[in-house]
Amino acid sequence: MAAKDTVAFLQLKNVSKGFGPSKDRTEVLADINLDVERGEFVAIVGYSGAGKTTLINLMAGLSTPDTGKILLDGKPITGPGADRGLIFQNYSLLPWMTAFDNIFLAVDQTYADWDRDKKTAHVERYLEMVNLAAARDKKPAELSGGMKQRVAVARALATEPQVLLMDEPLGALDALTRATIQDEIARIWAETRKTVVLITNDVDEGILLADRIIPLSMGPGATLGPAVDVSIPRPRDRKAMNHDARFKLVRNRVIEYLLGPGRRSGEPQAQGTASVAVRTDTVAA
């Protein structure tokens, strides 16, 4: 990574995190170092179960690292805060509240001193931003997966955080809905220029949306690989992805790391890993 004159906006320094009692403890993340600049869109791409959610929970302040430090704007993160918005993997909307109320709950807390009309107008503005004005009074059970995720996006954006953390936000959606919401995220990011950390298992999603893609190696003891810059101008055309050389280059570099050095972590290999290795060897032979 190029040396910067100023300190990065979001910094992770030698962060590690494990779970379980000391005897049979699993090291999930080891030696994570990451600098995210203000206004930058970073995608972290990694294997399922590698510890992606653990990593984003650390940044969100839902858990604390065992070692190392996480700094936002130079100040250590000690817990959840209004400066960071989190979009959960499974939407996590409260099912007994309407779309409006789910977002209102967040706005009501963050802007406690506003009057009710102002809060309502604010919520409605964000519902419109994600094209859900019509679903204002629907409960999550009446919404499709894509609509639910839009509400979750609006909820996270409505508190106007400085950093938006997304934990595989589109993982549960079908391919077409996924594409639509990817485009929406790209548009909203262009409008708001938030600092974003997107966690995903989809390399193409990272290429479409991010300034920089950082692969996360396979666990246990997962760590970040070398960053790949995505210097393709926006808006990016998803139809060009299959033949544009720049897309291919980025994709190959990320995948090369994930299948190469990123697949072998420092720790003894898990059962599942071994079976994958055997399969690849067979193909190679």
Binding site: P80, G81, A82, R84, L86, N90, W96, Q109
Partner: protein
């Protein structure tokens, strides 16, 4: 059309048939081996004034069955409210704190199966009057399903919802009213319904032992006065009221689960 007709036969005709069979067994029993058991027609005859004027008060011990049921319901309502007021917070504590749950669970398991007949004398010793002793007995017998189901409901709240509360930095009060309570409510209501059933079960025993006016008290008094017809009247009334209470609660419960 035919299907619909079939459905009606199953829901109305079969229970009617069942009741007729029971009536027949009853009538035969009273006519043959149990001479003390009043026949169905005799029971109806003697009970009639209590049913046709259910809320009439002719004297302290001579009142319509509706009036007696009302006294019992009122006592149950008070004892049940007490059970919920104690049981719900206790359930929340059990559900939220592992330490609390570990310490209290064995005690609950031991106290839960104790009969109301055993609690009432202790209530009389503690409070010296029959009314508070009755409330104590109803509350302590009826609260366990509320305690256990509330605890289960609180324990079953998905971690995701708790994370939402944390990430949005909701205040403890908001976390409670906007997240914990609505998430646990369906479970809690199952507990409330079961608790009400027990409270109604306990009332008869309590009234018998304390001599309070009500269906149970009336039943015991009429047994002592050798008016056996009224025992059957009371049993049917108790069953019917219990059935209606349970129906009402499960209607609310279904609505809660649906939303």
């Amino acid at each position: 059309m035919k299907k619909k007709l079939h459905f009606d036969v199953a829901t109305y005709a079969l229970p009617l048939l069942g009741s007729l069979i029971i009536l027949a067994i009853w009538a035969v029993s009273s006519a043959t081996w149990s001479k003390n058991l009043p026949s169905p027609s005799k029971t109806w005859e003697v009970s009639r004034p209590f049913i046709v004027a259910p809320f009439e008060k002719r004297g302290e011990l001579d009142q319509g069955i509706g009036r007696f049921a009302w006294y019992s319901l009122w006592l149950v309502a008070k004892g049940y409210t007490l059970a919920l007021l104690i049981g719900t917070p206790l359930g929340f504590l059990l559900g939220r704190s592992k330490l609390f749950a570990k310490g209290l669970d064995p005690i609950i398991q031991v106290l839960r199966p104790v009969s109301p007949l055993a609690w009432l004398p202790l209530g009389l010793v503690l409070f010296e009057k029959s009314q508070p002793a009755a409330l104590f007995t109803i509350a302590i017998c009826a609260m366990w399903p509320t305690v256990l189901n509330t605890a289960l409901g609180v324990r079953s709240i998905p971690q995701d919802y708790l994370n939402v509360a944390k990430v949005l930095q909701l205040s403890p009060a908001k976390t409670f009213f906007k997240v914990l309570l609505p998430a646990a409510l369906p479970y809690m209501f199952t507990g409330f319904r079961l608790s009400l059933g027990i409270a109604w079960l306990v009332i008869v025993a309590v009234e018998m032992l304390t001599g309070s006016p009500g269906v149970g008290g009336f039943l015991w008094q009429e047994y002592n006065s050798l008016i056996y017809e009224h025992i059957i009247l009371c049993i049917l009334t108790i069953g019917l009221v219990g059935f209606v209470l349970d129906r009402l609660m499960s209607m609310v419960e279904t609505r809660l689960r649906a939303s």
